[in-house]
Structures are given as C-alpha cells and as structure tokens.
C-alpha cells in the first residue's frame, strides 16, 4: 500500500473535489468565486515553484504563459465549441471532454512557448532568465493588445462570452494533478537532478547531469500548468483581456512562492490559499496591497530567505527535497 500512497492521495483528492463540486450550487456565488480563484492560485504557485523553487531558476513570466493558455483555451471553447459539442455530445460528460480538450490545448500551447523561450535563455544564468521571461510576458501582452478587435484574440478589449465551465472539481482536480506531477517528478530518482541543478549548477554539471535539459524540462512543465491555470481562469471569469496578464500578475505568483518557501510544496500551497483569501479581504486597501507585498519580499529575503514553511521543515535532517 505504501508504494502507491501518492497515487491514492491523488485519487482521493479528485474524488473529494468531484463530490464537493456537486454541492457547489448551495454556495454563495462570491465564496464560490474565491474558492475557484484559490484553486487556480495553487496551480500557478506550485508550477512556478518547480521552476523557481526546486530548480533554482527565476522566472518572472508566469502570467505570460497563463495568458497563452487562457487565450488558447478560450479560443478553442468559443470557435470550436459547437463542433466539439457535435463530436462529444451535449451532456455533462461531453461538455467536460470538450473543456478538458480546451484546457489541454491551452497547456500545450503554453508549454510550447515555454520551450521556445527556455531553450535560448536557460543556457544562461538566473538573472538573465528573469529579464527574458519578463520580456516574454511583455511581448505576449503587446502582441495580444495589438491584434485586431475583430480577430479571434479580440485586441485590447480581450475576449468575452467564454462558457463558465470551471467548477470546484476542475479547479481543485487540476491543482491535485499539478501537485502530484510536480511532487512525483521531484521525488523520483531522475528528479533529483532538479535539486542538484539548484544546489550547485557547476557541480551538477561535472557529475554528468545535463543541467540545460533539467532546466528546460522544469520550465516546460511549469509553463504547461500555468497554461492550464490560465484556461481555468478564462472559463471562470468568462472574459479575459491582455492587461489582466501583466507583470504584476506574475509578481503575485512569485510572492506566493517566496512566502511559502521556495522548494516547499506544502508551504507554497498554503501561501497560495492564504494570499488569495487575504487579497479578497484587502480589496478596500488596494493601494497599500502592493506596498505590503513589496515590503514582504524585501523583509523575507533579509530575515528568512527560506520562506515561512521551508522544505527542510517536512524532512528529516540530512535530506532535502
């Protein structure tokens, strides 16, 4: 039994989220929205943690990948929706299958972008990567903003009328899958390479680890889940625009990862939940929110760079993961 612990946990998580989502009608719309946002935040934070935490790179473009996923998924749903309904049928299962397809298309497009951006820049050191990913985020935004208003991307006004498919099952199910995939990758024998790259890239390279390949893998997987998160976001809000995926959205995710502890999945998940809920309660103090975030970043780096719940907290001494 112990061998399949993780798989069982994943199955339970999926079942629970499915069961809970059956009762989501009872929930107040406002709370449901916060719930869904929390699930999406978890996906974004855990996937960024694979890049920034476990592999020790620094990506500032998570919102860019999210944008790619959101747009791709929304376009599939809007443009191909009727045809897909024709193929899969119009029942609950059919809609689900069509939505899954849209999400996967979004994820794959984002992963492809991750590969295109990652291969050149990941051969270089971390600080360049931060700038390149930031630049990528900006390029995506500029391109989307300059598309024609009547094109499939909708120009600066964005896309509207996206079917609201995202439910608690989809948001938290995807989060569970994301956590499972990232944890399984990191804890496998092969996945030790990620941690080796983070701890000392030169030493890892001299031990025969293909550092570039590990970095690109982390980047592509991270981008894939960011794309999935974006797709869920699009189908939650029903409307997306390029401005919603700016640099600050990326910073939000980075703050979650740093606060939770880079490389600590439990910490990052908790930070994602806490920060999302806090964001809702701090709506009235919107202008102070980013000042607080910025101060948090600085103080955390000076006083507790390992995060509030570092990975070492959950493991015996002498082992890090």
């Amino acid at each position: 039994m112990k061998r399949y612990q993780a798989q069982i946990a994943l199955a339970i998580a999926l079942l629970v989220s499915f069961a809970v989502s059956q009762f989501s009608d009872q929930l107040n719309d406002y709370y449901l929205d916060i719930f869904l946002t929390t699930g999406i935040s978890i996906i974004l934070a855990v996937s960024l943690n694979l890049v920034n935490g476990h592999t020790g790179q620094f990506s500032l473009g998570h919102a860019g990948f999210m944008a790619v996923g959101a747009y791709a998924a929304a376009i599939v749903s809007i443009q191909l929706g009727p045809q897909l309904q024709h193929i899969f049928g119009s029942g609950g299962a059919g809609t689900g299958a069509a939505f899954l397809l849209a999400l996967l298309v979004g994820g794959v497009c984002a992963a492809l972008c991750g590969w295109i951006v990652g291969v050149p820049s990941l051969r270089l050191r971390g600080d360049y990567l931060a700038i390149v990913t930031l630049g990528f985020n900006e390029i995506i935004r500029v391109i989307l903003q300059n598309t024609k208003p009547d094109s499939v991307c909708g120009g600066a006004l964005g896309l509207g009328g996206i079917p609201a498919h995202t439910s608690i099952f989809w948001a938290f199910g995807a989060a569970a899958v994301c956590i499972y995939v990232v944890t399984a990758m990191i804890q496998s024998t092969w996945g030790r390479g990620f941690l080796a790259v983070r701890d000392d890239e030169i030493a890892a390279g001299s031990m025969g680890i293909n550092t570039t390949r590990y970095k690109v893998t982390a980047f592509v997987v991270g981008a894939f889940f960011a794309g999935i998160g974006g797709g869920l976001y699009a189908h939650q809000k029903g409307a997306i625009n390029p401005e919603g995926f700016n640099f600050l959205k990326s910073v939000d995710v980075v703050v979650m990862v740093i606060l939770g502890g880079m490389g600590s999945t439990v910490g990052v998940v908790l930070a994602a939940i806490v920060l999302t809920v806090l964001n809702e309660y701090l709506r009235d103090f919107e202008q102070y929110r980013m000042i607080i975030f910025a101060l948090l970043l600085i103080i955390m780096m000076i006083a507790r760079p390992q995060g509030l719940l570092p990975a070492s907290l959950f493991h015996k001494k002498g082992r890090t993961a």
């Binding site: 620094f58 050149p120 900006e138 500029v142 391109i143 300059n146 000042i291 948090l296 600085i298």
Partner: protein, 307 residues
C-alpha cells in the same frame, strides 16, 4: 531618404537617454554582479524630483536664465537620487552582500515595486505634465532635417555627463577603486580598497545618471507617472546587455543602438502593415537574439564561471 535620416536622428536622441540609464545598470553589475531592478524607478524619481523642484523653487528660479535654472534642477535632482540610491543599497542590498544571487534579485524586485507603489500613493496614479525646462524652438539643419531645441540640449547634456563619467572612472582614485573592485573584490580589499564605500559610491553615481536621464526623458516626452520607469529601465538594461554588461562604453553603444532600432521600427512598421505598438517589443527581441548568439554582448569579454 530625408525621412530615414530624420528617424535616425530622433533615434539617436532617445538612445542617448537609454545610454545614460544603461550606465547605471552596467556599473552596479560591474561591482556587485547583480541587476539592480530598482534602477528604472530611480529614473522615475529623478523625473519627479525635477517636477517638484521646478514647482517649489519657482520664486528662486524665475529670474534666472533657463539654462541656469535647468542646471540647478538637474544637479539637485541628481544629488537627491544619488542619496536615495546610496540609501537603497545600504538598507536593502548591503544585508544581503554574501547571500545567493537569487535572494538579491528578489530583493531588487521588491525594492522596485516598493518605490513604484509608494510613488503611486505619494504622487498620485494619474499622469502629470512635466513643466518645460527648455524653451521650445526648432532648429533647421541642412538637408531638410529638423531638431528641436530640447533634443539638442538633451544630447549635449548626455555628452557632458558621459565625458564627466569617463573622467571619474578613469582618472580618479575612486574610479580606480571601482575598476579594481569589478576585476576582483577580494584582491581589491586586500590592496586597501574599502569595498563598501566604493559600492555606495557606484550606486550614487549610477542613480545620479538615472536622475539626469529621468529629467531629460521627461523633457522629451513631457508626462510623468509613477510607473514610467519600468519600460525605459528594461530597455536600458537590454542596452547594457547588448553592449556587454559591466562594460561602460558598451552600455553607451547599446543604448544608441536600441534607441535607433526602436525609432526606426516605430517609424516604418506602418509601411509593412504592422501596428506601431510593436516597437515596445523590439528591445526584447534584440535581447533574446543577443543572448542566443553573443551572450557576452558586443564589447564584453566572455567570463568563465569557476567553482
């Protein structure tokens, strides 16, 4: 052809400002080996201090000739921002001197956001118009080209500042210490260089140049807002990478190249049926290309990382 030459000229003026900001990135990278993300925000603070100095010192400045009052405002803003730069280094970066680079990078992003949002709180989120420090006047050149008075002054100021910087770096003891530090921090400390003082000085110098850049930029594009530093800052950073980060003439060259390319793309994109909005993406494309083909930059030396 005339239009091309005109665009080229406009690009040079914009590029000279990028060069000014890029120098700050490159110098800080030279001594501390990290990217000071907050540099673009110091640029913004420079523009704002110019705005407020002009407002508050109006009674003093009014009787003076415009060139004199421009000099006063420029020098005062440079001093204010130099002090701010030193303060930022002292409070945020010095405690992290021997920590992993990633931590310093994150702190720098934090400092940048802090300045932007505090700026938004203090100055207001709306755009403010920047008062004209230089009287508007067109100067006709031969061949049907025209430059404004402002562009000319901007260019002259940049050249003066660059010459002054070169003098400081190459001819003074502090400049010598800066070069020694960027070559090898441990060895320079052993030779009696007070590294902390030199780092503070470098931050001050870079921030002063950024402040000058801010005022000049705001004179060319007369509106200021708390987030105005992000994009010019990034472009200047790319200019520094293009010229070879850590290399001072390289940063100036990179700034000019970025400015010219961007203006040309902006001027001609409509000819090729592209929206002019793409000109903001040009710099990033250049960055990705340079990282792909010559990561050390045009004038930079390749540096091998050792264990």
């Amino acid at each position: 052809m005339d239009q091309f030459a005109q665009q080229l000229l406009n690009g040079l003026f914009l590029g000279s400002i990028y060069a000014l900001i890029a120098l700050g990135y490159t110098m800080v990278y030279g001594v501390l080996r990290f990217i000071n993300f907050a540099h673009g925000d110091v640029f913004m603070l420079g523009a704002f201090s110019g705005l407020y100095l002009k407002k508050w010192m109006e009674p003093v400045l009014a009787p003076l000739h415009w060139s004199l009052s421009l000099t006063v405002i420029l020098v005062l803003s440079m001093l204010i921002c130099a002090a701010l730069g030193i303060l930022i280094e002292f409070l945020a970066y010095r405690p992290l001197r021997n920590r992993p680079r990633l931590n310093v990078l994150i702190t720098a992003i934090g400092v940048s956001l802090l300045i932007e949002y505090t700026g938004q709180l203090v100055f207001g989120a709306t755009q403010q118009s920047f008062p004209p420090l230089i009287p508007a006047n067109n100067i006709a050149l031969t061949g049907g080209l025209a430059v404004t008075n402002t562009q000319m002054i901007v260019f002259v100021t940049v050249v003066v500042l660059l010459v002054a910087l070169r003098h400081i770096v190459m001819r003074t003891r502090l400049g010598l210490a800066m070069r020694a530090l960027s070559l090898n921090p441990t060895a320079s400390a052993l030779m009696g260089v007070n590294n902390s003082v030199v780092i503070s000085f470098t931050f001050g110098l870079g921030s002063a140049l950024a402040a000058a850049g801010g005022i000049l930029y705001a004179s060319l594009y007369p509106s200021v807002e708390p987030f105005m530093g992000i994009i010019p800052g990034l472009k200047a950073f790319i200019a520094a990478v293009l010229g070879g980060i850590g290399n001072i003439p390289g940063a100036a060259l990179g700034g000019l190249i970025i400015g010219v390319t961007e203006t040309l793309v902006g001027g001609y994109s409509s000819t090729f049926g592209l929206p002019t909005g793409y000109k903001d993406g040009v710099a990033f494309v250049i960055l990705i290309l340079i990282l792909l083909f010559k990561p050390s930059g045009l004038l930079g030396k390749t540096e091998r990382e050792k264990v």
